[in-house]
């Protein structure tokens, strides 16, 4: 267990150090201009509170699914040797389901924007 | 098309020869669009190249609008000139390429083209007063603050 503990404390320490140093060094001088959105230099900002087309949400979800999928690759790659054939089949079933979903989405043209 | 072959088409007193050999046709403002139709259609100078204005500082009809056309078949330019005081018919409905050129002439000379879809300033900020390329307006240069002038003429 201690190795995990060390790993976590190191992580926390690193983040704390980074936040502390940058927080103390960078001066805070908020100004009206800095709060305005950056519109390539044009000072009269255009409202961005318009309704977004639904395609963006679709793309977001597709990305999320496949990102989670690749997230699982790493732990599996580490434990693959002692998973045995049963384990590998379980893992493959996960990919088959997601693969089918991907093929369906591509057929329906979710990725084509025009 | 050399200058002389234009005789048949336009009245001779309207054709002037310029230093660069480009035939130039002077046209009163009223016949401008009709002449340009003939130039682009019948005479074959179909490609619109350039439009600008020259401030001749005359009492009446002060500005001189200079249209430049090019014929792809004869590989030659033709210039159509007209004089105006501040108004001119817009060419943009028939020639899409003249859009920005007319906006630029409006912006820098103050000649308004009626019939232009979107006549606004193109070069200067929208709140700009005056039309700088008119020869009555100054260049707008500031006295340069050289250290030598400060030393010679004192600090004022």
């Amino acid at each position: 267990m201690p190795s995990l503990l060390i790993y976590l404390t190191l992580a926390v320490l690193l983040v704390a150090a980074l936040l502390l140093v940058t927080g103390r060094l960078s001066p805070r001088l908020p100004s009206a201009a800095k709060n305005r959105p950056y519109e390539s230099g044009v000072s009269e900002p255009i409202t961005t509170q318009t309704r977004w087309p639904v395609r963006f949400a679709l793309l977001g979800m597709l990305f999320l699914i496949f990102d989670v999928e690749t997230l699982f690759f790493y732990p599996w790659a580490v434990v693959l040797r002692d998973l045995g054939w049963g384990g590998i089949l379980a893992v493959l079933s996960f990919f088959v389901v997601l693969g089918a979903g991907y093929v369906y989405a591509r057929q329906r043209g979710a990725l084509e924007w025009r | 098309m050399a200058v002389d072959s234009l005789e048949g088409v336009f009245a001779p007193e309207r054709i002037t020869a310029t230093a660069d050999g480009i035939p130039t046709v002077g046209v009163p403002l009223a016949e401008l669009l009709e002449t340009i139709e003939r130039v682009r259609g019948e005479l074959g100078y179909s490609r619109f190249v350039d439009l600008t204005a020259v401030d001749r500082l005359r009492r009446e009809e002060r500005f001189e609008l200079v249209y430049l056309f090019y014929s792809m078949t004869q590989k030659a330019w033709l210039r159509v000139k007209t004089a105006t005081d501040g108004e001119a018919p817009s060419l943009t409905p028939s020639v899409a390429g003249a859009n920005w050129y007319e906006r630029e002439v409006f912006d820098l000379f103050g000649i308004s083209f009626e019939g232009h879809p979107d006549l606004r300033r193109i070069m200067l900020p929208d709140a700009w007063q005056g039309h700088p390329l008119r020869r009555t307006e100054p260049l707008g240069s500031e006295p340069v603050d050289f250290t030598v002038t400060r030393r010679v003429y004192g600090n004022d």
């Binding site: 001066p27 001088l29 201009a33 800095k34 950056y38 000072s43 | 307006e137 260049l139 240069s141 500031e142």
Partner: protein, 185 residues
């Protein structure tokens, strides 16, 4: 054109660090800022081409830590005004300058940015120090990439001296280290 002199915050470091550790920390801080000045891409005209030549392989500004030309002012701490600033562009330049986080520096690259050089007319701001405080002026039209690199080195010396006390307090408009090293009062 009287040069107004805003009070430069030259008291000791404004966030109260004094004594040995403060000194080491501020030395470290100055060194860190000075060795990676990220310019915001503010290429306007001909000087922008020489600025790109400076970031290309022959003059290679990456040797001085400024390789990354940030497009958004949020991530930049140096603005190289490369080119002539027209009346229509002035509010945009001021807006981008304001949106840059402190500490920030400005290099007026070329005659057009320093004093609008060849074009003394209605259309240009006569020198960018009329709208933003400038730290280093680079003469030349356009200045060769070596001149720009040399001005970057001059700016780094200035940054290494007191980068931390640059919190918002700016040297007066028009006052700054002229490229030939003489600090004009």
């Amino acid at each position: 054109m009287a040069i107004s002199q805003t009070d430069t915050d030259t008291s000791n470091n404004s966030d109260g660090r004094s004594g040995a550790p403060g000194f080491i920390l501020s030395r470290l801080e100055d060194w860190a800022r000075e060795s990676s000045l990220w310019p915001v891409t503010f290429g306007l005209a001909c000087c922008a081409i020489e600025m790109m030549a400076m970031s290309a392989s022959r003059f290679d500004v990456a040797r001085f830590g400024s390789e990354l030309f940030r497009a958004s002012p949020r991530q930049a701490d140096l603005m190289i005004v490369a080119g002539r600033v027209s009346q229509k562009m002035a509010p945009v330049l001021r807006e981008v300058y304001d949106q840059m986080p402190e500490p920030k520096w400005v290099i007026a690259m070329g005659d057009c940015a320093s004093c609008s050089g060849v074009f003394n007319n209605y259309a240009l701001i006569q020198g960018v120090d009329k709208i933003v405080p400038v730290d280093v002026y680079v003469p030349g039209c356009p200045p060769t990439p070596d001149a720009l690199l040399d001005s970057l080195i001059k700016l780094k010396e200035q940054v290494a001296a007191n980068s931390s006390n640059r919190h918002g307090a700016r040297t007066a408009a028009g006052v700054g280290i002229v490229h030939d090293g003489i600090a004009r009062s």
